[in-house]
Each structure stands twice: as structure tokens, then as C-alpha cells.
């Protein structure tokens, strides 16, 4: 599936809920089912320090495809981390760099990404794209 197809799928899934608490319950489920990040990646290089919660992020390039792994100490943040990984993982650096992430706004979770929330998510999206940029240059050198 393309990144946008994955985004649309998430929007569909969330659109069945009117109540905020149901959306959050789904996000908590997603957060709880996110595979824990291997301890070796929970190092100071991979940490994205927010004011309220912390996010760890790692990215790997295999055969021109990026996969992300991540985690957070707050489960709601972990839920969003899980969504971001679901959408962006297993794509090429170019696809990731050229993506406009619209699903967070569409499902009503934009507040988590507002710069004033300081939960590390804005920095995380930025970092995911930076990984893609870095791997793009690796790709082009190979």
C-alpha cells in the first residue's frame, strides 16, 4: 500500500468513533500493542526529549527500504508513534520525504503534534524525515 492509502485507512478506522474517549481507547490499544523497542536502541542518540514525555526512534535501511522502530514512555504518545511507524515504515526514502502527513489532523489528534504540546512528536516526525534524507544520500552513493 502507498503511504496515502495507509493514511486513508487510519482515517477510516478512526471515523467510526464520535466520542473522544473511544478514539483514545483505540490509541491506547495501539500503544500497548506496539512492539517494544530493543533495549540497544534506547540510547541517548535515539532519544527525542519532549517537555512532557520521551520518544525513542530508530531507523534502518534494507534494500532501499526504510523501517522504523520507536517507543515512548507515555502510552498515548506510543499510540501515535505506532501510527506514524505504520504509515511510514517499509517505504523508500523518496516516498517518505515527499509525503504530506495529513492523517493526524484528519483524525483529530493534531493537538498532540502542536509545537506547544512539547511531547516530542513534532520532533519525531521531523526526525523520521531526517532519517529518510540521510538514507537517501546513502542510497545514491551505493
Amino acid at each position: 500500500m502507498t503511504i496515502n492509502e495507509l493514511q486513508d485507512e487510519i482515517i477510516d478506522e478512526f471515523s467510526q468513533f464520535d466520542d473522544w474517549m473511544d478514539k483514545y481507547a483505540l490509541l491506547i490499544d495501539l500503544g500497548n500493542s506496539l512492539e517494544p523497542l530493543d533495549g540497544k536502541y534506547k540510547n541517548p542518540q535515539n532519544i527525542i526529549e519532549g517537555c512532557q514525555s520521551r520518544v525513542w526512534l530508530n531507523a534502518e535501511l534494507n534494500n532501499g527500504i526504510i523501517t522504523y522502530q520507536g517507543e515512548s514512555d507515555a502510552v498515548l504518545v506510543k499510540g501515535i508513534v505506532s501510527l506514524l511507524i505504520h504509515v511510514l515504515s517499509n517505504h523508500t526514502p523518496d516516498e517518505i520525504i515527499n509525503t504530506e502527513l495529513y492523517f493526524i489532523d484528519a483524525i483529530g489528534l493534531k493537538e498532540h503534534l502542536s509545537p506547544t504540546r512539547s511531547n516530542g512528536l513534532v520532533a519525531m516526525v521531523k526526525q523520521m524525515k531526517l532519517f529518510a534524507l540521510a538514507y537517501k544520500s546513502v542510497n545514491s552513493q551505493q
Binding site: 473522544w20 474517549m21 483514545y24 481507547a25 491506547i28 517537555c51 512532557q52 514525555s53 514512555d73 507515555a74 502510552v75 498515548l76 504518545v77 498532540h112 511531547n119
Partner: protein, 407 residues
Amino acid sequence: MDKLEIQHIRTDFPILEEKVYNKDLIYFDNGATTQKPRCVVEKIEEGYYHLNANIHRGVHYLSQKATEAHEAARTTVADFLHAGKREEIIFTRGTTEAINLVATSFGEAFCHEGDEVIVSVMEHHSNIVPWQMLCERKGMKLRVIPMNEWGELDLDVFKSLLNEHTKIVSIAHVSNVLGTINPVSEIIRIAHAKNVPVLVDGAQAVPHIPVNVVELDADFYVFSGHKIYGPTGIGALYGKSDWLNAIPPYQGGGEMIATVTFEKTTYNELPFKFEAGTPDYIGSTALAEALRYVQNIGLDKIAAHEHELLIYCTEKLLEIDGMRIIGTAKEKSSVISFLVGNIHPYDLGMLLDKLGIAVRTGHHCAQPLIDSLEIPGTVRASFAFYNTKEEIDTFVTALKRVVTMLS
């Protein structure tokens, strides 16, 4: 305060009728800022509509009126703190600016390399960073009073930290995270026995307990208007006139001068020496209105009601499995920091928000304290006199629901 009285008081605060996410707003973030009664907002409006002219310099009618209002506000603040002289009140933008003023000007006059400043482990960043900056400028050391497991300062260690290098002690009257009411009177007595002056950060104290700076014998006492039902951007520094006369001005500009030539400028007398530029005379008059509002209700009455809320909420919270209250000092103000099991405070705060409840989460600008407790932060509910037991019931029910979702 009985129910009727609180219901009546609540009508003075239109924002308390707001709905958030279609739910009744429950505002338990009073430690961050308080809501404003109508009379304060009306005072601001009245100021701009009927009293606006730059103060102190004008000979015309409006300027005279505005000057009188600003200076009357100074008297109101002085009376509120029971300061001896009205010129011992300096208007600032708030607690932060007041501490920066003292750290800069006192530091300039009295501090040298090798000297020391004492703060406590439970200080807000605004009572740490200005002193750290001073220490960096002068090559001084910051010493820190630790606390016990209940969140009470260790005065024996404090005594041992005081030495011939100590230049000033700067301490919170009430902790914004733990709610601990520190024994500032005793701290001041101990410091004065060694001839060391004390600054008291009263930001979290003045809205909740009566303060008498002369009885306390505080050398400096600071607070913010917005935390005591006044506007943002205005606060006050009380300083003993001997100290204020002995330290240099903080900022230069208009108002704070006596005469200016390109060769030499002489400074104005107190309090104007520390109020460079056009002061916030609209803010000061609205702050005075807020203080009168609080005095009309009565701080003793406020303290009693808030204490009742503190006890009631603490008991209710302890019914929740895994509840851990952070800060259980014997002398405590109406602030409850807590954690539940291993749930991250951010998750609790986000979900409570969606149920219409405003609490604060995180480190509350007291990172060294949170680090020393080895926790990721806390959820903090902080009460004002307009809060009710019914609101606490709704909050605790919501919290139980949220904890179940997150467990």
C-alpha cells in the same frame, strides 16, 4: 464557606460556566494561573476607557488620575503584604522578573567570586536559573537545601550550608509541586542569625495564606498578580528599603532617573529607581482590585475552604488503587501532585482534559525536584476558593475511569 456562598462567588467568574468538549469545565490548574473575577476585568476595561494617560510625567487631568490610581495600587499591595512603607513595593512583570531583579542588582552590589547562594531542592526554575546565571557571572556556588520523604526541608542541613561565603538565601514560601508550606519564618531567623538576607518566593503563597512581610522579617518577598486573580504581566517585589537603597537599578530608562546628562545620570528615589519605562499602570490598578476582592472574601476564610478541599480530595484519591501522592508535608497548601501505578502523567492529563478537567502534568518547571524524586513528572490538581467538593467528586470519578482505560 457554605455552598450558597461559593455558588455566589462562582457567578463572579464567568469562565467557570464554559463548556469544554461539551462538558462542564472543571478548573483545577489554579497553581498555574487563576481565573479572573468580573471586577478585575472591568477594572482593566475602565482603565483603558476612562483613565488612560501616561503616568508621573503629565500635568493634565487624565495623567494625574492615572498616576493616582497606580500609586494607590502600590499602597494596596503594601497593605496586603503588611509592608511598612509603600515605597518598598516595586511593580514588576511578575515573580520571575522580581527574582531576576534581585539576583542581578543584589548580585552586582554584594556578590563576588567564591560567594554562595542557597536555594532549596523544591524551587521553581524561576528561583533557580536567575541565581545560576549570577553564579556563572561571578564565579559563585549554588547550594541546595534537601528535603525529607514527605517534602519538608531539612533545616539541619540548611544550618550547615550557611557559612561566611553565603550571600543570600532564596526560598519558596509554598512549593508549586508539593504544596509544602515552608517554615520561612524560621528559615529567615536562622539566616539572619548569620547576617544573611532572605528572598521569599511567594507566588504560590499569597493567593492562599495571609502574609505579613514585617512579621516574617523577609528581606525580599515577591509574587505574581495572575496567580491571585489579577491580570498577567504584573506582579510585585517587596524589599526592605535599606536593601533597595543599597543595590543599583535593574534597568535604565525613563522614570527611574533624577537627572540625565551625557556625563552622568543620577537615579530617582524608591520605588521609581526600579521602575524604568512606562509601568503597567492598568495592570497595577487591576491587581489592586484583585487584592481587594480577595480581602473582601477574607484570606482566613479562603485558607479554611481550600484546606477542606485539600483534605476531601486527598481522601478520595487514596481510594484509587496504586495512588501515590507526591508531597505529604504536615503543613500543606491546596495542591495535590500524584501518580497512579506506572501510568505516565501525560496520559492521565490528556484523558482528563477530554472529560473537561483541567489539571497540569509534567515537571511543573521544577525539573531538579522531579529528578530527585526519580519520577517522570506528576499530575497536579491545584484548588482555588471557587472550587467545590462536587467538582472533586466529578474529578475523582473521571480519574477512576481514565485509570481503568490506561491500566
